[in-house]
Point group: D2
C-alpha cells in the first residue's frame, strides 16, 4: 500500500529559538520511503541528524523572531507484516537480548516501578504471552476515556492509571508502563496514521514478545496497518514531534495522509481490537 | 458485649514537646464507657478537650525532655446495631442533610477529586445503594495487598489506588475516596479492635446511606462487631492517635483488648466480608 | 467604608443537577451587611444554611435541565481593624486554643506534612512572630508567577511549591501549607475584592499569631482593606464558591464591587506588601 | 593515583532469579583499569556485555534458589583532569553536539519539565556558565538534608525539590533536573568513592559546559578526585548497581576502596565545594 503524507507546520517565534523536530518518516523494514521533500522558510540554519537505536531522524532548526514554516511531504510504501502471534511467549529477563533490556526500565512518562502491584493485580494471572499485552490494551480501552485536552505534556502513566482519561500518547505510556511492570520490554512509537480524524500525529507502542517487537495501539482509533512510523524511544521525551527552546507559539498545523492505493486498503470494523498481530 | 482495653504508650522526648493524643474511647450510641482511667507520668501539664462533630476526645500533653508514659484503660459495653441494609439507597446531594455534605469533599488523604473517573469506571454501573459500598470494599480487599510497612504518614488514597499496597489506614482512605467520588458521604474512624493481631490501633470508615452512617472495613482483619470507636474525622489528619510537636521518639506501645463476655462473642469466618450491616 | 457588590451567575444544566454555592457575605466582626438580596431563577428548589466555625453561608440549589440564574447583591460596611502586629509572637502548640489546633493539620490542597523541610529550610531561622508570615508571603510573591490558567481545581500547595505558577487560590494554599509546616495555624478565606481586575472571586488566608487571626494576601493584587469575606475553611475544598453535582456548564459570571464611600478609600502603591496588619 | 577496590555482594534467592549488575569500573579516559577479577558463585549462568554511549559494563546473572556471591576486585589508576572552568560558557541548544541533546530531556527520576519555573526562579538570573552549575550544587547542599533512609527507589527530583531530604542519588537527580530545566545537558554517574564513610556505591552527575562534560557532586561527601566511574546514564534507571527480577534478598554488601599511592592523595577540607573543576 502506498500513502502520501503532508505535514505543514507554522510557528511564531518571539525570540531567537531552537526547535528540534522529529517528523520525518524513519527507515524501517516495514516501510519504504519512495519520495520525500522538506521545505523550511524563516530559519537561520537547520541541520538533520539521526540518533537512537532505530535512527530516529531529527531536524534542528535555529530561527530568528518571526514566522517559521516547515513543509514535509513523503510518499511511503507500507508493508506491515501480519502474523499469528497470539501464543508467542514472553521472554524472561534471563533470555532477553541485551539491547532490549533498557526497555524494561522506568522512564519519565512510564513509571513502571510505581505500577508493579497494579499490573500484577490486573494482569499477573494471565498467560505470559502475546495475549497478555492484548489484555493490557483491552483494559486501557475499557477503563481510560479518550478525551482531547484532558492531559498535558507532564501527564504520565502513573497519572493516567488513576485519572483514567487521556489521548493517544497517554494510552501508549500506560501500555508501556504495564508491560515493563510485568517484565515485558516495551517502547514508544510515533507515526502518521491513515484514517485518523481529525488528522494529527499519532502515538502507539511496541512490546517485545517471542523474538520480535510487535505493534499495539490501545486507542483503537485507526487500523494498525495504516501506521507510518516516525520515531521510536523510551517514551515521549525521546520522540516529541517538536521540542522547543525559546518563546515559540504554534500557529498552524496541517496534516494529511492519503492512501494512493485505495483498492488494497482493507476495511476494519470501527473500534477494532485488531488481529492478526503486526510484527515490526 | 463488654470489652476491657488497655493502651500503654511510652515516648522519649529529646526536647520540650507537645503531643496531642486521640486515644480515649468516644461517647457514641453504639458503645457505653463503663469505667475509664488515664495515668500520665513525665508530663509538665496536660489538658483534655473534645472537638468535632462527634466530640472526639483529645489529650494535649506538654512534656519536658525525658520519658513520657501514658496509660489509658477502659471497660466498654458495645451494642453494635446490626441491620439488613443491602438495599438502602444512596442519598443524592440534593437530599443529603446539610451537616453531612462536607464529607463529600476531598481531604488530605482522600483526594476523591482525582479519582472521579476511576470510581466511575469501576463502580459507576452498580446499583446506587449500600451494596455499592460493599463492592468498593470488596474491590479494595481483592486489589490492595495488606502489607505492614509499605506506606507511611504521607501515603494517600491516590497513591494506594495505583501502588496497591497499604495498611488499615490506607484501606480506609481509599474506601472513603471512592465513596466521595461517587457522591456518597464517607468519613474516617479509628478504634480499638478486638481480635486484631498483632494488637494495634485500627482504622476503618463510615459511609452515609439511607439515612444513617454505616460501618465498613475493607481489611476484613477483624469482625466489625468488636470495633470500639475512638475518633471520627475527614481522614487520618483529624484523628491521628498521636500528633507530635518536638523531637519525640516512640519507645513502646502495648495495646490489649479483651472480651469480658466471651460467651456472647459470635464467631465469624476469617476474611469475612461481613453481613449484616452495622448502623452507626 | 461601604461597598456595593453584585454577583450574577448563569449556568446551563444538561441534567437534573445540584449546586452548592458559597457566595453570600458572611457575618463577621470586621464587616456588616447593610442590605442583601438574592434572586434565583430556573431552580426547582433551594435552601440556605450555615455551617462551619465561622458560619459560612451556603445555598443549595436543585435545578432541572435548562438555565439557572443567580443574582446576589449586597451592601456591606467594612471596618478592617488595622494594628501594629510586626512583633506579635507565634503561639506554640502547647498554648494554642484548642479550637485552633485543627488548622495545624494538613488538608487536601495544603499538604504541610510534605513541606516540613522546605518550610524549615526557607523560614526556619526567622523570628517566630508575625514577620515570619510576612516573609512567607514575600517569598511566594517573589518565587511564584501569578498566571491565569496555569493551574486547575486539583492543584495543591505541593505542586505550586515546585511548579511555581498559580492564581490567588494557589498562593493562599501555599501560604497556609508553609505556616502549618512551621506550626502556625492557618486557614483559607474567600471574598469579594474591591479593585480586583478583572473582577473575580478572590482567595487569601489567615494565620493565627499573638491571640488572633490576621489576614495575609501573597498576591498583592488588591489592598487588603477592601476584602469582603465570604467563606473560611481549611482550604478551597470547604469554601468553593460553587460545587456542582450533575452535568453543568457555567455560561456567564459577572462580578462587580463598587466603593460607595470613595473619599474614605485610602490609596496604596501597586504590588504593596501591605502594612499595618489587619486583625480579623 | 592508584586505588584498590573490592566489592563483595551476597544475595539470597527464593526463586529462580535474574540479576543485572553494573558494578564493573568502566573504560574512560580519566581512569585506567590495571587489574581486575570477578568471581561468581551460586549462579546458573552469567554474561557480560556493554551498552550505552559510554559502554557501561553490565553483568547478567541467572541464579537458582539459594545463595549467590559476587566478588569484584580491581586496581585502577585515576587521572582526573583538573582544570580552571569557572567561566566556561553554557552551550545553547542550537550549538550543542547532537549526541548530547538527549541529556536535555526529562527522565524517570529527573522531571526537569516540572521544575522549569523553579530552576528559572532560583538560577535564571545567574551567569550562564560553569559557575551556574556550581550554584545549583551549592543550593542543593544548603537546602537538602543528607539523610540515609529518607528516600527510596521511587524518589525523584520532583519529590526532593519539595521534601528536601535524600541521599547521593537524590542529590544527583536534583542537580541533573535543575540543569536540564535550564537547558544544560546533564547525566547521572555512579562510582566507587575513596573516603566515603560508610563505604557504599556513590552517585554524582556530569553537566555539559564549554565543550566537555564536567563532574559535579552536590553531596560534598568525598573529594571528587577519588571517584572511580562505573556507569553513566540518564538517571538511576539506567545504571542501578543491581536490577533484580525474581524474589531476591540482599544478605550482605562489603565495599572497600584503598589508595595505593597515599603520598599522592591531596587532602581537602571537609564539606568542600571543590575547585578546580574536573573535566571528564
Amino acid at each position: 500500500m502506498k500513502f502520501q503524507l503532508r505535514c505543514h507546520l507554522t510557528y511564531n517565534m518571539a525570540t531567537d529559538s531552537t526547535l528540534i523536530f522529529n517528523i520525518a518518516v524513519c527507515h524501517h523494514s516495514a516501510q519504504r520511503i519512495l519520495q520525500e521533500t522538506l521545505d523550511i522558510s524563516g530559519a537561520r540554519e537547520s541541520e538533520q541528524y539521526s540518533l537512537g537505536e532505530l535512527d530516529n531522524r531529527y531536524l534542528r532548526v535555529n530561527a530568528p523572531p518571526g514566522r517559521l514554516q516547515l513543509s514535509y511531504e513523503a510518499t511511503v510504501e507500507l508493508n506491515p507484516l501480519e502474523v499469528e502471534a497470539e501464543n508467542l511467549p514472553e521472554v524472561p529477563p534471563a533470555q532477553l537480548p541485551v539491547e532490549v533490556l533498557s526497555y524494561l526500565y522506568p522512564s519519565r512518562y512510564c513509571e513502571s516501578d510505581r505500577l508493579m502491584r497494579f499490573a500484577q493485580t490486573e494482569f499477573g494471572d494471565l498467560l505470559p504471552d502475546y495475549s497478555r499485552v492484548t489484555a493490557i490494551c483491552n483494559w486501557i480501552y475499557d477503563n481510560v476515556a479518550y478525551l482531547s485536552g484532558s492531559t498535558d505534556a507532564q501527564t504520565s502513566a502513573f497519572n493516567t492509571a488513576t485519572e483514567r482519561a487521556g489521548v493517544c500518547r497517554d494510552f501508549a505510556h500506560l501500555g508501556i508502563a504495564f508491560c515493563r511492570a510485568l517484565n515485558i520490554p516495551a517502547r514508544f512509537v510515533t507515526g502518521y496514521a491513515y484514517g485518523l480524524k481529525p488528522p494529527d500525529f499519532h502515538a502507539y507502542f511496541e512490546a517485545y514478545v517471542g523474538s520480535s517487537w510487535y505493534l499495539f495501539d490501545a486507542t483503537r482509533l485507526v487500523p494498525p496497518t495504516g501506521l507510518i512510523r516516525i520515531g521510536t524511544g523510551r517514551d515521549a521525551a525521546d520522540v516529541s514531534f517538536a521540542t522547543m527552546f525559546g518563546t515559540v507559539a504554534m500557529e498552524d498545523m496541517v496534516l494529511a495522509v492519503d492512501c494512493l492505493t485505495p483498492d488494497e486498503w482493507p476495511q476494519f470494523p470501527e473500534n477494532d481490537a485488531y488481529t492478526p498481530a503486526i510484527k515490526q
